[in-house]
Amino acid sequence: MMTFYWVALLIISFAFVGLLYRLIKGPSIADRIVALDALGVALVSIIALLSLILETKFFLAIILLLSILAFIGTVAFAKFIERGVIFDRKPNR
């Protein structure tokens, strides 16, 4: 079973490298933001596999924390490239 975890970790690491390529090369900003969001998901799965390999459950809080932070970061970036501001001052309706 341990070999299975290591193989899965290797495959996700390759996916990580591919996403890093898209992050660096990506022609538009939106490509880079999507790559960053997917990098967050890949990082979450890497941490999950590491917690299986190290046989600890103390990493599980980090998984939820990273998903929340990746979500908020992606929303902030998306709002910035769409409107130019991150926080509106007034309600816009």
Partner: protein, 140 residues
């Protein structure tokens, strides 16, 4: 320009409660597992930031009428008060105490005065983070 972000606002209304609950969980489990006042405070601040992203600064100020600078002061007072209470009981500064109590709903619970110190840390972290973000966000 009129924009319609009903998806973001609806998702925020659901997700914000999960984040706040997780923040409270990570605050209270800080004694035995990773977490504590600092991470809990940052998570609470990020929940409020998500609310600011989905809505706007005036709406958030209306639904959460908190003075974050006063929150920093209250947090520091709680932390200092926990440390200073040791003087009353004639023990060295910052000495903490704990005991086991039989609470009606929770059963046998160990209550530690370090949790009060952590509450001070939590309030300071939330207050400082939200002060920084709100001041930058209101800048023209």
């Amino acid at each position: 320009m009129k924009t319609n972000d009903v998806m973001l606002q609806t998702a925020t209304k659901v997700v914000i409660f999960i984040i706040l609950l997780f923040a409270v969980h990570i605050f209270f489990t800080g004694h035995y597992t990773p977490g504590g006042g600092f991470v809990g405070g940052l998570l609470t601040a990020s929940a409020i930031v998500l609310l600011m992203l989905a809505f706007d600064l005036d709406t958030v100020k209306k639904i959460l009428p908190l003075n974050y600078v006063a929150m920093v002061a209250v947090g520091l007072l709680i932390a200092l008060g926990t440390a200073g209470a040791s003087i009353v009981f004639d023990v060295p500064f910052f000495t903490h105490a704990y005991d086991y109590f039989d609470l009606p709903l929770f059963g046998k619970t160990s209550l530690h005065s370090a949790a009060l110190f952590d509450l001070g840390v939590y309030l300071v972290v939330v207050g400082v983070t939200m002060t920084i973000i709100q001041t930058i966000g209101e800048d023209e």
